[in-house]
């Protein structure tokens, strides 16, 4: 049941990306190109999503369990550190290079775009490197 629900939530997310035009990397890059001919559409995508999200977090933010009785897992971290800023900075450079972030990467995979598939593979490699590095740092040297 949860599996089907999770699939549907992902599907709605993906449909939202296609409807909004954000599945097209060139459109995302046109947003990031403020010095060229600028396409502000991405602001409207975020505005629409945040309008609904804001209400959802007002409703759900104070609950201990979800409406299906699942524990609420909302991040509690408060500190703004080098990991947050450095990681986000690197992410932004990658985003600017191709105009693809993780969500649209999987949508492009579904479009059957070869470059979308390669992006997703590289994304997984990047995440794997992160896991390997953080394990290396966490474990004491033998």
């Amino acid at each position: 049941m949860i599996i089907l629900l999770s699939f549907s939530i992902g599907l709605i997310f993906g449909l939202g990306l296609i409807v909004s035009g954000m599945g097209d990397p060139v459109k995302v890059l046109s947003f990031l190109d403020i010095a060229g001919s600028w396409d502000p559409s991405l602001m409207f995508v975020m505005g629409g999503a945040i309008a609904v999200g804001f209400v959802a977090f007002r409703v759900g933010g104070r609950r201990n369990v979800s409406f299906l009785g699942k524990p609420m897992q909302i991040p509690l971290l408060k500190q703004i550190d080098l990991r947050l800023v450095g990681g986000s900075a690197l992410f932004g450079v990658g985003w600017g290079l191709a105009g693809i972030c993780p969500g649209p990467g999987f949508v492009l995979l579904g479009f059957g775009a070869m470059k979308g598939a390669v992006f997703v593979l590289a994304l997984l490699v990047g995440m794997f490197i992160y896991e390997a590095v953080s394990r290396l740092i966490a474990s004491p040297r033998p």
């Binding site: 999770s6 939202g16 097209d24 060139v26 971290l77 900075a89 600017g96 775009a113």
Partner: protein, 144 residues
């Protein structure tokens, strides 16, 4: 700066945004979780149990199959990937590594984090938008 009126699509952008918001709301209110794509994918590389992997895979399958479902009802919009293979590979690695190090991407920080007014997400979003702007500026206007 000049606005590209011929490609600016505020209505479909906002409509798609509302769908993304609905997905975020369902993930929070029903599953009790943040709809952050990098976190959901990254969790697969750090397996806890089979059930944990299953809902993550189902979500990713849902996103990936969206074009096929969309095609049942309407003609799919055209997509354009102009970046070189090398840029795509480098971009994927940076996006994967950076989003895990920074604990989120456009969905987790940009949509969910801003929705709940998280100061960390405001900083993260400003940072990745900033370096995104700078990267595109460098690639399109500085490099030959």
């Amino acid at each position: 700066m000049s606005i590209d009126w011929s490609h600016f699509t505020p209505i479909s952008a906002a409509a798609g945004g509302l769908l993304i918001g609905l997905s975020v709301a369902m993930m929070l209110l029903l599953m009790g979780r943040i709809a952050g794509i990098s976190g959901i994918v990254g969790g697969l590389l750090r397996p806890r149990n089979a059930g944990d992997a299953m809902w993550r895979l189902a979500f990713i399958l849902g996103i990936s199959l969206a074009p096929l479902v969309y095609r049942l009802f309407a003609e799919l919009p055209e997509i354009h990937i102009d970046s070189s293979w090398l840029s795509i590979i480098l971009a994927g690695i940076l996006v994967g590594f950076g989003s895990r190090l920074g604990s989120g991407c456009t969905s987790g920080h940009g949509v969910c984090g801003l929705s709940r007014l998280s100061p960390r997400s405001v900083v993260a979003t400003a940072t990745f938008m900033g370096t995104g702007f700078l990267t595109v500026f460098a690639v399109r206007h500085l490099l030959p």
